[in-house]
């Protein structure tokens, strides 16, 4: 009643002008410059980077606190931080809470954060490499290559002399090998077109997957179980020893990528425009290949194949901050880390005491998110306007 009473005079005063401009804004097609001049139809500049970074940092801290606190034995945030503070101060207490936080949950949460950040960064870069917003780090054969390597280790004890590093080594080697194969095969033509790259990636991925299947088929049934679990992704075996390699890889890759953020923006325009902007396209492309396979390789090595993160998170980040990689990369690291920590929290609590493979969780969250995004922004996916 009251609503109706207020609405009528308003519309009478200024006929259809109140609602439509806002609606127009969303559906802005190719508008004449004159029609957008009204100010209200104009989009404002992006949020300042530091605001987004602070928000994402807070999100990450919250995610990690919850990730450490929640479980079969629940701890309050205060208790969680008390343990961490004790350890950082150098005099840990000998309590159950201490053991749970420091020995079990903290390394797991940190590993999830690092892997989430690495996969997000790798996804962001691959999307630029193939100039397709629907690409993810596993498109170019990285995951399937890593799987071949890791499966060979798990089933046949390859690289046994490397001890606990054997699986990591095998999967990084597999990832780099696969990426190199994709790169070389698509390069044999005079130019490297994104479509060609995607096709070669898809084809070689299929090939590597069948190699993995073949290895599983030939291996012994008990080992097969662990291979399958690994293939679906999990942080169940996380420990401190696994952390340094992916963390260092992430830091090195991020430093390189932030240094190359402008060339990366130019490269997002396409290889030819990038060349005209003074980017050494061949070198940049080769380096991006190496950096991406390294990051995705070490991530896969410690956690298995976790899908959708490298695809969905870069998208969400691009929606928030635009596509300038000086913004996308740092925000992606924080947001990707938070996303993975939350995902892992769900994976181990949703069917407790059992643990769900985290790949299942990320797919359940990722698929609907992606569909919503695709429907909201059709022009990003090849459909023009």
């Amino acid at each position: 009643m009251r609503q109706g009473g207020r609405q009528v005079p308003a519309t009478a005063a200024s006929p259809p002008e109140l609602a439509p401009p806002a609606a127009n804004l969303e559906a802005s097609g190719p508008l004449d410059p004159a029609s957008t001049a009204g100010g209200s139809g104009r989009r404002r500049d992006r949020l300042p980077l530091w605001v987004v970074l602070v928000a994402c940092a807070v999100l990450l801290v919250v995610a990690m606190t919850l990730g450490i606190g929640i479980g079969s034995v629940s701890l309050s945030p205060r208790a969680v931080w008390q343990v961490i503070a004790d350890h950082l101060a150098g005099h840990p207490k000998n309590t159950v809470a201490d053991a749970i936080v420091w020995e079990i949950r903290l390394p797991r949460v940190l590993l999830a954060a690092v892997v989430g950040a690495a996969l997000t960064t790798a996804g962001t870069v691959v999307q630029v490499l193939v100039r397709n917003a629907l690409a993810d780090p596993f498109l170019l054969g990285i995951s399937s290559g890593a799987s071949v390597g890791a499966t060979a280790v798990l089933l046949f004890g390859a690289f046994a002399s490397l001890g606990i590093w054997a699986v990591s080594f095998g999967s990084v080697l597999g990832a780099l090998g696969a990426m190199a194969a994709v790169f070389l095969v698509s390069r044999s033509r005079h130019q490297l077109a994104p479509t060609q790259l995607i096709l070669v990636g898809v084809v070689l991925s299929a090939l590597f997957e069948s190699v993995t299947s073949f290895l599983i088929f030939r291996g012994n049934p008990q080992a097969t179980q662990s291979v399958l679990f690994w293939l679906l992704g999990s942080f169940g075996n996380a420990n401190w020893a696994q952390l340094p390699i992916p963390a260092v890889a992430l830091v090195v890759a991020m430093v390189y990528l932030l240094a190359q953020a402008r060339p990366l923006n130019a490269f997002a325009m396409g290889a030819e425009p990038a060349a005209s902007l003074g980017v050494d396209v061949h070198r940049l492309r080769r380096n991006l290949f190496v950096v991406t396979s390294l990051m995705a390789g070490v991530a896969v090595a410690v956690s298995g194949v976790i899908g959708f993160v490298g695809l969905v998170v870069p998208h969400i980040v691009r929606l928030i901050v635009g596509s300038d990689h000086r913004r996308v990369l740092p925000v992606g690291v924080l947001f990707g880390a938070s996303f993975m920590v939350f995902g892992d929290l769900l994976a181990r609590t949703i069917v407790a005491p059992q643990e769900m493979p985290i790949g299942v969780i990320t797919a359940f969250i990722g698929a609907p998110t992606l569909i919503v995004l695709i429907r909201r922004r059709p022009y990003l996916y090849g459909a023009t306007q």
Partner: protein, 271 residues
């Protein structure tokens, strides 16, 4: 001072596309590259902006070997506006034009006041102030092209390469784009499709056919009925533009088909 291509040959996938051509673009001039599809116009331009590596020959900028310069250094001298295209990612007009500053920046450099004022001025020069915060992908073809021109201006080069910049644009924007770039006083080398438009804007034109320069000179001397028949294999009329006196093409229908369609009662040509 000039941009000179000397004995330039370019192969693509082992096939010779451009064969031993010589073209000189003197400072401040607007030189047009003409020729049918596949004649090698684009390939020549891409050899200059370092997408294709020439099989033979040299590209000299003011006498210095352009292709042995650092990539950034050559990009500070030569900017490119190609055909309007879609970008897969969401950049605002402002961000798009800022990308033009790439060859001037080192790793970790931030955008400073100079960059911002250069970008703002570039956007102003193409008249896109109102679009500054719009997403590039939501613009019309003509608007996109103006933004890409602003990016080239922000690049701060004194040479501009245009690779069929008016493709897919309607007549208003075709004229607007060429008028805009011609007004900058930059040295321009442009591959153009429309011979009449080329005649209006170019000081010199080079006609390519099958990867070689068949003729070059002022538009009035080069754009003739014979040249179009020879290079393009098309039968046209060439008249004088009533205002500028430059050659203007009038398409013709081939006599037999035209007669069949207009019917037996049609008067003879130019009754």
């Amino acid at each position: 001072m000039s941009l000179d291509l000397i004995g330039l040959s370019v192969d693509i996938g082992g096939r010779p596309i451009v064969k031993d051509i010589d073209i000189s673009v003197p400072d401040g001039r607007f030189v047009g590259l003409l020729g049918p599809n596949g004649s090698g116009k684009s390939t020549i331009l891409k050899a200059i902006y370092r997408v294709h590596r020439p099989a033979a020959g040299r590209v000299l900028l003011d006498g210095a070997d352009l292709l042995s310069m650092p990539h950034k250094a050559s990009a500070r001298r030569i900017a490119v506006v190609a055909q309007e295209s879609t970008v897969e990612f969401d950049f605002t007009v402002l961000e798009m034009v800022m990308i033009g500053r790439t060859p001037h920046k080192r790793a970790f450099d931030r955008d400073d006041e100079t960059d911002r004022s250069i970008v703002a001025e570039a956007i102003e020069r193409v008249g896109c102030e109102r679009l500054a915060y719009r997403s590039f992908n939501t613009l019309s073809g003509g608007e996109k092209q103006r933004v890409l021109i602003a990016r080239a201006i922000a690049q701060g080069a004194d040479h501009l390469i245009l690779d069929e910049p008016t493709n897919h644009l309607d007549i208003r924007y075709q004229i607007e784009v060429l008028e805009l770039v011609a007004g900058f006083g930059m040295t321009i080398l442009a591959a153009l499709h429309d011979l009449s438009l080329a005649a209006l804007f170019c000081d010199t034109v080079c006609v390519l056919s099958d990867g070689v320069v068949v003729t070059s000179g002022p538009p009035k001397a080069v754009i003739t009925v014979e040249m179009v028949r020879h290079a393009y294999g098309a039968d046209v009329l060439v008249v004088e533009h009533p205002e500028t006196g430059t050659p203007h093409l009038i398409p013709r229908r081939s006599p037999r088909e035209g007669a069949a369609l207009t019917g037996p009662k049609a008067p003879g040509p130019k009754a």
